[in-house]
Structure formats: structure tokens, C-alpha cells
């Protein structure tokens, strides 16, 4: 497997009335061919901003990529003209959004919407593009694709719409697919169908997927590797099993423990859920030190002064926490 996408030391700032908000703070990520990378965290942690940066969709102004690089197979995306970026977007990298109703155009037939994307990026006739649209609908498991291609988004259920979105995103055979909370708006039974679909498509086409979610269950089900984000930092990363079975950062631990996970054999005892006190701080009000320190029950004086740098503790498992890394070096 070779490296497909690599994000290095990316810093994104938003100028707001309340001051400068650093929404991404020296983020480094890499994505191998055919891999599924999960990015988890609460809202406001920078998950979606990471996705938008890669897509070249940071609203500017107020947003701005201050420093760092995003390279796709050696091609630097941050310095690309908006015209060139448009050729890449939807073609080499594409994205599916959380809310399938608002991301499809309500006044166009779904077949036309998929065909449009094909026409923009490939030299094909309208007829060929339409044929591709029908083929994509069939691939994502929509019954009677030739008839359904003529349907409007409102005629489809939520699960069907999300399938259309996936078909649309995959129409030009992208190398990287970014899925931003693809199943949050869906029922569990439909979610399971979408997960199966994503897994099959990834296996068949070798597309690498970045899965953005707050649901540890979704990560467990799909992702090969996970990065946990907090207030614009990646605070822990590693293989899915490393992160879920052996989390090191107090935030990751809290994120896993605070959710009531479904158990197959529940006991009579029902302990209270573990809480992470407080909420994610506004990014304009980050002080010095570790961003998680005010909510962390293990915070030391050191944590409030200096920002911990993400460091490897094993081969692939990295953590940004003084308590963990100092324990290792000592």
C-alpha cells in the first residue's frame, strides 16, 4: 500500500469578531490506498474542518490555511488554483455529507445530478453520462435504477437518498472518499445497510475512505485506523483496536466510557455513566497548555503551561498527553 493523501502540520485559522480561532492546530494525517481512516471527536473539534481543508472548501474569508501542506499523490493541494482544484474535487476526491436531503438539489432528477458530475470531469456524451448514472444507482443497491434515476430527491427515503449521495460521490471513481457523518441522520437498520455498502465499494474499487463520526460504534465497524480530535488538535491516533481497546488519552477514554454501549447480556447492575465534565471550549478562548486540561481529571500543573506534542508510544499508536508520554520516557 502506498501513501495516497498526506496532511502535514496543517494550520487553519478563522478570523472572527471574538478573535482568531485556530480551528486546526498542526494536524498531520496520512491515508494509504484502500484504507478507511476514522476521525472522531465531539462537535467543534475540527473533524469537518479537516475534511473541508482537504476538499479545498474552507470558506475564505473568514477561513484561511495559515501553514502546512496537503498532498495528494505528490500533488500539493494548498497552492492549487481554484480552477485546478475544481477538477480534482468530485473527481479524485469526493465527499458525502451528513444530511442527504439538503445536499441533493431538490429540483433536479437524481440521474441528472449524477450525470452532471460525470459530464464535468470526463469527456463523455450526455447519453453515456446518463448510462453511468444508472449504473451507479444499481451499484449502490437502488432497485429499478433505470426508473429511479428519473425520480426527484423528495420521492426517496432517507436511506435511498444517502445511497444516491454515495453513488454521486463515486461516479468518477475517486481515489479518496470523505464521508462526513454519513449515517447520523439514518435509522440503525439503514445505517447497517450503508456500512455494508461502503465496505463493499471500498473492497471493489480500492477507494480510500476518511470516515468522520462521533460514533465509536461506526468506527469499530468500518475503520482500520482512528484519529481522535479535540479543539483542533489530533490528540490520539492508532489502529482501531489500539484506540478502542487500549485508549491512552483521558479524552479518548472518556469518549468511549460516556456512551452507553449496547451489551448482548446486560446485567442487573447499572452504574452511572462516566461523565466528561463541561463542554468543548470556544476556540477563541483557548489558553496556554493542553486544550483538554480544564476538563481533565488527571491534569497536572505542567499541562496548563505547555501544549503536549503528539508522540508515538508504540509502533503506530500516538498520543498527545504529558501523563502518558512522560510515563513512557521515565
Amino acid at each position: 500500500m502506498s501513501e495516497l493523501l498526506s496532511v502535514k502540520d496543517l494550520v487553519v485559522d478563522f478570523r472572527t469578531r471574538a478573535g482568531n480561532a485556530r480551528v486546526l492546530n498542526h494536524i498531520s494525517l496520512d491515508l494509504q490506498e484502500g484504507e478507511i481512516l476514522g476521525i472522531v471527536g465531539e462537535s467543534g473539534c475540527g473533524k469537518s474542518m479537516t475534511a473541508l481543508s482537504v476538499m479545498g472548501l474552507i470558506p475564505s474569508p473568514p477561513g484561511n490555511i495559515t501553514s502546512g501542506s496537503i498532498s495528494l499523490e505528490g500533488l500539493e493541494l494548498t497552492s492549487l488554483s481554484s480552477r485546478k482544484m475544481r477538477d480534482i474535487r468530485g473527481n479524485v476526491i469526493s465527499m458525502i455529507f451528513q444530511e442527504p436531503m439538503t445536499s441533493l438539489n431538490p429540483v433536479f432528477r437524481i440521474g441528472d445530478q449524477i450525470a452532471e458530475s460525470v459530464l464535468l470531469h470526463e469527456k463523455v456524451s450526455k447519453k453515456q453520462a446518463w448510462a453511468r448514472a444508472v449504473e451507479m444507482l444499481e451499484k449502490v443497491g437502488i432497485p429499478e435504477p433505470a426508473i429511479r434515476a428519473k425520480a426527484y430527491p423528495h420521492e426517496l427515503s432517507g436511506g435511498m437518498r444517502q445511497r444516491v449521495m454515495i453513488g454521486l460521490a463515486l461516479a468518477c471513481k475517486p481515489r479518496v472518499l470523505i464521508a462526513d457523518e454519513p449515517t447520523t441522520a439514518l435509522d440503525v437498520t439503514v445505517q447497517a445497510q450503508i456500512f455494508d455498502l461502503l465496505r463493499d465499494l471500498q473492497r471493489d474499487t480500492g477507494t480510500a475512505i476518511i470516515l468522520i463520526t462521533h460514533d465509536m460504534g461506526a468506527v469499530a465497524e468500518l475503520a482500520d485506523r482512528v484519529a481522535v480530535m479535540y479543539a483542533g488538535h489530533i490528540i490520539e491516533s492508532g489502529s482501531t483496536r489500539d484506540i478502542l481497546d487500549n485508549p491512552q488519552h483521558p479524552y479518548t477514554k472518556g469518549l468511549i466510557a460516556c456512551v452507553p454501549h449496547l451489551e448482548d447480556t446486560p446485567t442487573d447492575e447499572r452504574p452511572y455513566l462516566e461523565e466528561i465534565e463541561g463542554v468543548v471550549p470556544p476556540l477563541t478562548e483557548l489558553g496556554s497548555g493542553c486544550a483538554f486540561a480544564p476538563r481533565c481529571q488527571y491534569a497536572m500543573d505542567h499541562c496548563r503551561i505547555e501544549v503536549p506534542v503528539i508522540q508515538p508510544i508504540t509502533d503506530r499508536h500516538k498520543v498527545a498527553c504529558f501523563k502518558v508520554t512522560e510515563g513512557v520516557s521515565a
Binding site: 437498520t189 439503514v190 445505517q191 460504534g217 449496547l262 446486560p266 452511572y272 461523565e275 463542554v279
Partner: protein, 324 residues
């Protein structure tokens, strides 16, 4: 010893009729013959996919949608047949927490006034006592009492949901109906709210009717669980029985669809449900789940199964159980 249930719902039906010009009116069978009861101090969870009628059931219990047929009793009083003033006064005994903490609080009202409003409407205590009561309620739900003068937009989602909880508690109700109270919240905040709800229940002996699509949350919070599909309860049991020994194929599929964090997910074993639930307008003749059921018999397409007790109050409606 038999304890009198606090809430008893018998054969509840809510049908919405849509009149059409020159055509037969269409009838949406949102809730179609639902019965359950909750003992005082317990929590009943209702789970199901969207469109299964769980929210409509909650609204019907609150008398917020017209009831087509059936009976609802709260502490022996027949609230399903109350009218206007009688109903208005009875409302102090059953309150609600809503899903969206952003749209369920009036943006122009100070949060203290929002919590105080039920006390004013129900004419509980004198003005000084009401002020004190609002402060007490804020403390109970974990908000500082000096925040009463702020407006909803100055609060985070979790804090707003606490305000919603304080408002629901103001009239000291017996029953609180919670419609997806944590699904709009971030996971860390969700844990805080669920813990507050449990502490209040232990302290005040509250009874919850808890509507959710999140099976993990339901398993954590509820004593009994009812599974709804297309307007009907297809299975109901106590928490432990339902999750360890589900009987209905729909419940099994629902449980199998939830991603597990710790157990290694065995994808091959999952019974994936295909398709979506049928429309509640043209209901299938037989079992409503038959079209998506992986183990459906011939009989299922023609004859609706009855909800039967399979021992210790474990109810399920499936022909397959009778065949075995």
C-alpha cells in the same frame, strides 16, 4: 402483590385522515392498537425506526394529538377522555422533555421565566415561593441558580436540555414523557443529561416514558422496553429479557444492526434488513414486518399475528413462535 400501574394505555389508536378532492380520503395508521403500562418509579422505553409511531404514541399520551380510539389512564384517571379545563388542570401530572433543546425554549424568554411559567399557569404557591421553587429546580438539574436571568441562546445544548428538564419538573409531575431527549446532544453531554435524569428519578420517584431510537441508551436507562414497528408493539419485555433473549425477528435484526465497540463485529452473522418499512397508508394484510422478514412463513403474508405472552410478561407477535 400487584401494584397499580401509574400509566395504563389500552388499545391506543391514532389515525390521521387526509381528505382529498374527488378521491377517497387516505388514512395514515400512525398508531394502531398499542397497549402498555408503566409502574410508578419505573422507565418504559419505546424503540423503533423512524415512522414506527413512537413519537405519535408519546404525543397521544400527552393528549397533544387527537386520539382515534383507546383509553389512557394516569393514576386511575381517564385522561384520554378529559376535556378542556379538566385536561388543562390534569396536565400538571404529566410533562414532557423534547428532542431539540434549541427549538423547545422560547428565545425571547429568560430561562427563569420559562421554568416559572408552569407554576404561574397552574397557580402553584405565592410569587415568592415560585421564585424559590425556580432556584431549587435549577439546582436539582445542575444549573447555577444565578443563571435564571439569562436567555436560552446564552446556553449550550446540554444546559438548555437541563432547562427543559427543570421546566418539566416544575409542577411536580408523576410522569415525564421524554421524546429522544439526548439524541441532539454530543456524546459527552448526553452522558451528563442521562445521569441527571437517573438521579432525579431515584430521588423523586419519577416515572419516565422514554422514546428513543438509540438501543444503547434505552438499555442503560429503561426497566422495560417495547419495540414498535409500523404503529404496533411487536415485542415487549423487561430490559434484561429483551436484550438477552429477543423473540421477534424485527427485534433481533434491530439489535444486530447496532455496531458494537468492544466485541469483534462479526459482519457475516448479521441479518441485514433490506429496504424500508412499508407505508402506513397501505398497510400489508398480514404481519406488517413480513415483507422485510428474513424468516417469514406463507401464513405471515395473509394473517396478522397476535401479541401473546410467552411467559413472565414477555410479549411478542410472530407466527414463527407459535409454529415452534
Amino acid at each position: 402483590m400487584t401494584t397499580e400501574p401509574l400509566l395504563e394505555v389500552k388499545n391506543l389508536k391514532v389515525h390521521f385522515t387526509k381528505k382529498k378532492m374527488f378521491k377517497e380520503p387516505t388514512v395514515v395508521h400512525a398508531v394502531d392498537g398499542v397497549s402498555f403500562s408503566i409502574e410508578k418509579g419505573k422507565t418504559l422505553g419505546i424503540v423503533g425506526e423512524s415512522g414506527s409511531g413512537k413519537t405519535t404514541t408519546a404525543l397521544a399520551v400527552l393528549r397533544l394529538v387527537p386520539i382515534t380510539d383507546g383509553e389512557i389512564n394516569l393514576s386511575g384517571e381517564k385522561i384520554s377522555h378529559m376535556e378542556k379545563d379538566e385536561l388543562r388542570l390534569a396536565r400538571r401530572h404529566f410533562q414532557m422533555i423534547f428532542q431539540d433543546p434549541y427549538s423547545s425554549l422560547d428565545p425571547r424568554c429568560r430561562v427563569g421565566d420559562i421554568v416559572r411559567e408552569p407554576l404561574d399557569l397552574m397557580d402553584i404557591g405565592d410569587p415568592d415561593q415560585r421564585d424559590q421553587k425556580v432556584k431549587d429546580l435549577f439546582e436539582q438539574v445542575g444549573l447555577r441558580p444565578e443563571l435564571t436571568n439569562l436567555f436560552p441562546h446564552q446556553f449550550s445544548g446540554g444546559q438548555r436540555q437541563r432547562v427543559g428538564l427543570a421546566r418539566a419538573l416544575a409542577t411536580e409531575p408523576d410522569l415525564i414523557v421524554c421524546d429522544e431527549p439526548v439524541s441532539a446532544l454530543d456524546v459527552a453531554v448526553q452522558a451528563q443529561i442521562l445521569n441527571v435524569m437517573r438521579r432525579l428519578q431515584e430521588k423523586m420517584g419519577l416515572t419516565y416514558l422514554f422514546i428513543s431510537h438509540d438501543l444503547g441508551v434505552v438499555q442503560h436507562l429503561c426497566d422495560d422496553v417495547a419495540v414498535m414497528y409500523l404503529g404496533q408493539v411487536v415485542e415487549k419485555a423487561d430490559r434484561k429479557t429483551l436484550f438477552t433473549n429477543p423473540k421477534h425477528p424485527y427485534t433481533k435484526a434491530l439489535l444486530a444492526a447496532v455496531p458494537r465497540v468492544h466485541a469483534n463485529p462479526d459482519v457475516a452473522q448479521r441479518v441485514a434488513l433490506t429496504g424500508d418499512p412499508p407505508s402506513p397508508i397501505n398497510l400489508p394484510k398480514g404481519c406488517r414486518f413480513a415483507g422485510r422478514c428474513p424468516v417469514a412463513l406463507d401464513k405471515c403474508a395473509t394473517e396478522p399475528p397476535a401479541l401473546k405472552d410467552w411467559g413472565d410478561g414477555h410479549l411478542a407477535s410472530c407466527h414463527l413462535l407459535e409454529a415452534n
